[in-house]
């Protein structure tokens, strides 16, 4: 027969201060763990959707980002007429060439300036780049001082709303549309007309990068080899999707690494914290354990009783931790993207797997925290247990 559950329930209730301490400790860990995981997940999502597999991006060899790359006009014209490049319904090559600059704009939260990517694209960009959709307003009109802004900017940067303006070099651009990019990195950018804004950037007739739609994505390496064989070209061709993934790679990787590191450190700390609390809870009951065993209760039933108690506490703590973390779900924020010096906004994504992992985490802490001290109490000679204070 088992130790009655009422024994555990009463213990939890009557020693509510220690109980609360244990619960809050574990809940905090689960909350932080969940938030970090969701941050990592949101970041992954934000970067995943950027670029298409069947697009090749042509940038300067050795350049770390689009910002420091240059594609001269004559070389661009040579590349886009390549046989491997797909053509649109109008028979023209499906190609987009962008100037990219970084402007400074005030954040909504504290008014502090942050970097935002301003991209000048030809009208073809809508067709070439994948997943661009204007969800509010309309596309910019070529030749006019109009821009569209990514949706993630709207709640992060001041003035980024339909009808607002973007200032650059004393010039004002009217925001005529808000666009999405399947959650991709372009959602954190401002897009304007290549001819209007490109001229303003004063970079001449080339572009920072060139993106072409491939007839067959398998041909990207071949295109790359061909480009590298042209002595005048200091360029290379890569898969567009891979390029943007690599751009964000170190940050995403670092964030994930950080998440695991913080989680591990906090986990260890919390396990010790929880164990300490549980240890104190059980140690205070060592004589009770001795008494129960003298009366004939088995070690197993006593161990089970204490395990149940600590797992029960851990589950409550886990749920509490998830609830604490939940307001962060969908919360948008940005992180300095190292290579391009501009912010990529991303939303915290609390997914069911993350919640599951958080709960598991809590239960493991409860089991580890409760088992060891209960084990000690059930293992020691009854006579010793009875003599403890």
């Amino acid at each position: 027969m088992a130790v009655p559950i009422s024994y555990n329930i009463r213990n939890v209730r009557q020693r509510w201060q220690v109980t609360l301490l244990a619960i809050v400790g574990i809940a905090m860990v689960v909350a932080v763990f969940t938030v970090i995981m969701s941050m990592s997940e949101g970041f992954r999502l934000a970067l995943r959707a950027t670029g298409r597999d069947d697009n090749a991006i042509i940038v300067q060899r050795g350049s770390a980002s689009e910002l420091t790359s240059g594609v001269p006009l004559d070389q661009r014209n040579q590349i886009i007429v390549d046989d491997r490049v797909a053509r649109g319904a109008d028979g023209q090559p499906l190609a987009s060439w962008d100037w990219v600059i970084v402007i400074s704009a005030p954040k909504v939260t504290d008014g502090q300036p942050t970097n935002v990517t301003f991209r000048a694209v030809p009208p073809r960009a809508y067709e070439v780049r994948g997943g661009i959709e204007v969800v509010e307003g309309r596309k910019y009109t070529p030749g006019l001082d109009e821009v569209i802004v990514g949706r993630r900017l709207t709640d992060r940067i001041q003035g980024m709303h339909l009808g607002g303006t973007v200032k650059y070099q004393k010039k004002e651009f009217k925001i005529v549309g808000i666009f999405t990019n399947d959650g991709g990195a372009f959602e954190s950018e401002i897009w304007g007309d290549y001819d209007v804004i490109g001229a303003l950037f004063q970079r001449g007739p080339g572009s920072n990068s060139l993106v072409v739609r491939m007839k067959d994505p398998q041909d990207i390496p071949a295109l790359d080899r061909w480009i590298r064989d042209q002595p005048q070209m200091q360029l290379q061709a890569l898969s567009e999707r891979k390029y943007y993934a690599d751009q964000a790679g170190p940050t995403a990787g670092a964030l994930k690494g950080l998440a695991s590191l913080v989680a591990i450190i906090m986990g260890i700390g919390a396990v010790f914290g929880a164990m300490n609390t549980m240890y104190a809870i059980v140690a205070a009951r060592t004589r009770e354990i001795g008494t129960l065993r003298a009366l004939g209760f088995s070690r197993t039933s006593i161990l089970l009783s204490f395990m149940m108690e600590s797992v029960f506490l851990a589950v409550i703590a886990g749920v509490l931790g998830c609830l604490l973390a939940f307001p962060m779900n969908g919360f948008s924020t940005g992180t300095g993207q190292t290579q391009s010096f501009s912010e990529i906004a991303f939303a915290f994504q609390i997914t069911p797997p993350i919640l599951t992992i958080g709960m598991l985490f809590a239960v493991v802490m409860g089991v580890v925290g409760g088992l060891l001290p209960a084990w000690r109490g059930a293992r020691m000679p009854i006579t010793t247990a009875l003599r403890e204070a």
């Binding site: 009366l295 004939g296 070690r299 009875l386």
Partner: protein, 235 residues
Amino acid sequence: MSAQLHPVARTADALVDVRNVVKTYKRDTQELTVLNGISLQVPEGEFVALMGPSGSGKTTLLNLVAGIDRPTSGQVIVAGTDVAKLSESELARWRSRSVGFIFQFYNLIPVLSAVENVELPLLLTSLGKRERRDRALTALKVVGLADRSSHYPRQLSGGQEQRVAIARAIVADPKVLVADEPTGDLDSRSAEEILALMETLNREFKKTIVMVTHDPRAADRAHTQHHLEKGVLAG
């Protein structure tokens, strides 16, 4: 069932039969012989007091009789069962049926009410909920605390706590009661009540009682007194 596992011939009609028991504790490299060849027979229905100076081994001997400790050598046979031969779990079951414990500091579970404390040993039986509660209340009636059944230990006086503990000790109807200084923490009036209660249990309920005590007045209530001196029985 375990009682039948290791049947042993009883000497005369001794319910508790301690034969040549040696108990040594190892502390680091030192060996401490606490009981040095003790033999003691307690007939059924007896009320025995174990006396002796502090550290003479009284508690050690009582723990052996109660089956919460094992002798280094020798035999402890209680109600026909050689305690040392039982496995850990057999011993636990045996205790739950055969021994009632009365501790100096009562050892009640603080979060359980009086009646719940008394009911604890019955959780190890096959009795139903209703039956358990009835028996626990009956045991409380025997110790005169029927009106305190829903009180928690902290709401009871020391004497009352010890009476609840005694109710817990008798509720499963064991043959032997072991008591380690049951009045050691009580004032003389409460001690008197507890001793009177134990006498009643011995006389009317035929409980065999082995009691360790320092108190000569308590020992006087017993039929027999044994004196331990440095691990051996003296008179």
